[in-house]
């Protein structure tokens, strides 16, 4: 964490390498979060790019308070996703198109995991926006309850309750084959 704080300080002091390192460190995580929220590869790509450009433009306003830089990026990503839906409300969040899996590893297992992810994204498309958000932050982005609460602007207790209702609903939809 200390290293990241130092990187962020350097980026704020206009160090191009530090910017680039932060980008490389977090690009995939942000993409995965956005892909889960939007369920559409092309849109996920556009929004992910916008997140980092936005972060570049506003990094001087970031203040280090012990919360990971990634949580700040997720906050930007969350706002970008909300704006995206506002502008394209008719785009279904369930139209997954060709999300990629890495080339290394067992191809059959990877294909199965990809299908599983697509099934989850489709099922998540039937959750409420807040439920989808908590699933993405907790189980796709691996944020802690405290970090998730920060990003969502809710109390930790509220996030725990939401997490419960989201998992219950997701389980029901998937069990019913409603994907």
């Amino acid at each position: 964490m200390h290293d990241e704080e130092s990187l962020v300080r350097r980026a704020q002091a206009r160090d191009a390498d530090a910017f680039a390192q932060l980008y490389e460190a977090h690009f995939e995580k942000v993409y995965r979060y956005v892909a889960m929220r939007l369920g559409n590869e092309m849109e996920a790509e556009d929004v992910t790019q916008e997140v980092f450009l936005k972060a570049l433009g506003s990094i001087s306003s970031f203040r280090w308070k012990g919360v990971p830089f990634l949580a700040w990026l997720y906050r930007i990503a969350r706002n970008q996703v909300i704006d995206h839906y506002r502008e394209k409300p008719k785009t279904p969040p369930v139209s997954i198109t060709g999300l990629q899996v890495p080339e290394e590893g067992n191809p059959v297992e990877m294909a199965e995991e990809k299908n599983e992810f697509e099934r989850i994204v489709k099922a998540a498309g039937k959750l409420t926006d807040a439920q989808r958000e908590v699933i993405a932050l907790r189980f796709v982005s691996d944020l802690s309850i405290a970090e998730t609460a920060r990003v969502m602007g809710r109390s930790e207790g509220a996030v725990k309750a939401l997490q419960h209702s989201a998992l219950t609903a997701l389980r029901k939809i998937m069990a019913a084959g409603g994907t």
Partner: protein, 278 residues
């Protein structure tokens, strides 16, 4: 503590343990009375976490995004360099441009400026465009250059589409997309028209306060992009009926991509950068 709150706590405790590599069974053993309710929820969380960890961005997107981001970093930092650097850099580019003109000849340069993608002088046209971008001294000026270059690309797309070659349409459309992405990238590095305030090393301070002049600059860019977006999208749409059927899919894709590109640029211009609200 209410019973539902208690369950939420136990569920969260188990989820944290799963994230640390513990098994579902180990958690259920600790809470046998809730095991039946916990198991399906923990399984769902585990499946979601495992499946999502395999998802990666496409390699070509990753590379394109990386290049664009690095270009945005360079633009952002270059614009913050002292004026003297700009003058020196501008002088160097001017000398290089002069040499290009001398080597190619003024008439060649003039002819190149009107050349189309399938013509021999087109690379000269692209090279002179790069010089124009390099000479632009601020993000707003660079953005304006990219907006003008986007106009040229649209004209070229119309030309190659009418000639009937979808490969050329796709190639020029990709360049057009890159120009519009750069407008978005450059706009994202501005706070209400001016560059974001440089942070002093180690000092954390909020973004520069919006200025009336900065806001005007942003507004001016917005108007220019809005006008071009409407005009160029319309121009491409009008071309569809005039091109061979084989080109139409490419052209329709280009129209969608161009509309989305202008929209991204406008969105980036309209929205001030994120502020840390924490």
């Amino acid at each position: 503590m209410k019973q539902s709150d208690r369950f939420n706590e136990i569920l969260n405790e188990c989820l944290e343990e799963l994230a640390r590599g513990q098994s579902i069974e180990a958690c259920l053993e600790k809470h046998p009375e809730q095991a039946e309710s916990l198991r399906p929820l923990l399984e769902t969380a585990l499946v979601t976490r495992r499946a999502s960890s395999t998802i990666r961005p496409r390699a070509d997107f990753r590379e394109r995004a990386r290049l664009q981001f690095r270009a945005a970093i360079r633009s952002s930092l270059t614009a913050r360099e002292p004026r003297r650097f700009h003058l020196r850099f501008g002088m160097a580019v001017a000398v290089a441009l002069t040499l290009v003109v001398l080597i190619c000849g003024v008439s060649t340069m003039a002819a190149a400026s009107n050349s189309m993608p399938d013509q021999p002088l087109y690379p000269v046209k692209l090279a002179s465009e790069q010089a124009k971008i390099a000479l632009a001294s601020s993000p707003i000026k660079k953005a304006e250059v990219y907006v003008r270059l986007a106009d040229l690309r649209v004209d070229e797309i119309v030309y190659v589409a009418v000639k009937g070659d979808p490969r050329w349409v796709d190639a020029v459309a990709q360049r057009l997309k890159e120009h519009l992405d750069m407008v978005a990238a450059l706009a994202a590095t501005m706070t209400n028209g001016k560059m974001a305030a440089p942070a002093d090393s180690g000092a954390f301070r909020p973004s520069a306060a919006p200025t009336a002049r900065g806001s005007e600059t942003r507004d001016r860019l917005k108007v220019i992009v809005q006008q071009r977006a409407e005009r160029n999208t319309e121009k491409l749409k009008e071309t569809v009926s005039r091109v061979p059927l084989t080109v139409r899919p490419s052209l329709n894709r280009t129209i969608d991509q161009t509309s989305a590109g202008y929209l991204r640029a406008l969105r980036s211009i309209e929205r001030p950068p994120e502020r840390d609200e924490r």
